[in-house]
């Protein structure tokens, strides 16, 4: 007998189609659904918002989890976890994926947090939109089982979209959820999900290829690795992760790296971070703002000036005057623009 009345499920809602469908499948059975969305500090959408590029259409930068909650008519609670989460990015028990993405640890981390929340709000079980075999690293059968076990959720984690491929869970055994009305979707094809979306008349959802996680991005991951290798101060949940998205990055010594703005928006963003740091620019020219992390000596300041000159509108001149300043201190440095071959050697 099905007894879903008074049963509350908490689910990880990203706003993507899979988690939306998983929630909907349970809601159709009369289960009360509460969404959770963890703010890790590595969502590229959030980073684009912090950069504040003019003319970006607000709808394209909206929080998709909130949009999904609105469409489903359920609360999606956004939970900030940036500082704790960074620990598993740096040192994941199950390793990184192709880049800095610790997908298995990430799922375990989120599910543990979700379990805590479930206990606080009197929830009965958790669910996710995971689909067996959809992602090579974190959604094959062994990975799904590891994730469940490591999160301390054996039997209490329901994946409604792939339930028929997985062992029966406690909510199914207890009759809170009717297993017959769960699904048997598996693999990378999206056909099953798209058909279900049509059935439920879910028209709005972000494309799965969009990928909101910066940790799967090659350039971002390389820069994050550099930050860790060179012990650059880095605080998740601040502008530090956003800075890894902005501009061209060069490392000129173990202690010193620089970020060269590529356009007005990036220059303005770097400008906001200049207090207490060296900045370089070419006066009276089209010039990037060059923000320095670390304390460059005289030689390095010349080198950085040469890089600033290279990216200015005076790059073809033999010698260029570059202004270097840090708070009240300011000096002019006359240098030849840096050669591209040199830039390639120190580009991060």
């Amino acid at each position: 007998m099905k007894t879903s009345e008074g049963i509350k499920a908490l689910g990880l809602i990203s706003g993507g189609l899979d988690s939306t469908l998983a929630a909907k499948v349970l809601m159709e059975q009369g289960i009360e659904v509460h969404g959770l969305n963890f703010s890790t500090g590595f969502c590229s959408n959030d980073q684009r918002r912090a950069l504040g590029r003019a003319g970006e259409e607000p709808h394209r930068l909206r929080n998709e989890a909130l949009r999904a909650g609105a469409d489903l008519g359920i609360e999606v609670e956004i939970v900030p976890v940036e500082k704790d989460y960074f620990g598993i990015v740096v040192n994941p028990k199950f390793g990184h994926g192709a880049h800095m993405n610790p997908c298995i640890d990430c799922r375990i981390f989120m599910l543990k947090k979700a379990k805590d929340r479930m206990d606080q709000v009197g929830g009965h079980f958790l669910f996710t939109g995971e689909v067996l075999g959809q992602r090579p690293m974190s959604q094959h059968l062994a990975a799904l089982q590891t994730i469940e076990k490591e999160a301390g959720l054996e039997g209490l984690l329901l994946r409604p979209l792939s339930a028929h491929h997985l062992p029966e869970t406690i909510p199914e055994k207890k009759g809170w959820v009717d297993r017959a009305r769960l699904l048997a979707i598996a693999g990378r094809s999206r056909r099953g999900q798209l058909a279900l979306a049509q059935t439920f008349q879910i028209a709005e959802f972000p494309q799965p290829s969009g990928g909101c996680c910066s940790l799967t991005d090659d350039t971002f991951s390389r820069r994050l690795r550099d930050v860790l290798d060179h012990q650059v101060p880095f605080e998740p949940g601040t502008q530090d992760p956003v800075l890894l998205k902005v501009g061209r990055h060069f490392r000129v010594s173990h202690q010193v790296k620089l970020v060269v703005g590529r356009d007005e928006t990036e220059n303005q963003f770097l400008e906001r971070l200049r207090r207490g740091r060296w900045c370089f620019e070419v006066p009276d020219a089209g010039s990037p703002l060059v923000l320095v992390q670390g304390e460059p000596d005289d030689e390095l300041r010349k080198l950085i000036a040469a890089i600033a000159a290279r990216y200015s509108s005076r790059r073809s001149e033999r010698l260029v005057e570059v202004q270097a300043s840090k708070d009240e201190r300011s000096e002019m440095i006359r240098v030849a623009p840096a050669a591209d071959t040199f830039l390639e050697q120190c580009r991060i």
Binding site: A50, G52, L61, N63, L66, G69, L72, G73, I78
Partner: protein, 82 residues
């Protein structure tokens, strides 16, 4: 002010929890995407989105605390209060 997604929503949620039903919260932000996110958050939580006022620097958005879930479409069509 000066905060970006998802911090304004987290702060709004924390603040509204301590309020009485029927009280109105004013959210001040300089992130234009809040004009999409806050109404969406209201539609999900059932709080009532009353609309917004805007000047050159800031957006002022107003939310009335509701204790009961409203319909999913509630708040969807609200426009500027100006």
């Amino acid at each position: 002010m000066g905060f970006f997604c998802p911090i304004p929503i987290i702060k709004t949620n924390a603040r509204i929890r301590g309020m009485q039903e029927g009280e109105t919260l004013e959210v001040i932000s300089d992130d234009r995407v809040i004009l999409v996110d806050l109404p969406n958050w209201c539609r999900g939580t059932g709080h009532e989105y009353l609309g917004y006022l805007e000047d050159e620097r800031e957006i002022h958005l107003f939310v009335k605390k509701r204790g009961r879930k409203a319909s999913p479409s509630q708040g969807k069509e609200r426009e500027s209060l100006k």
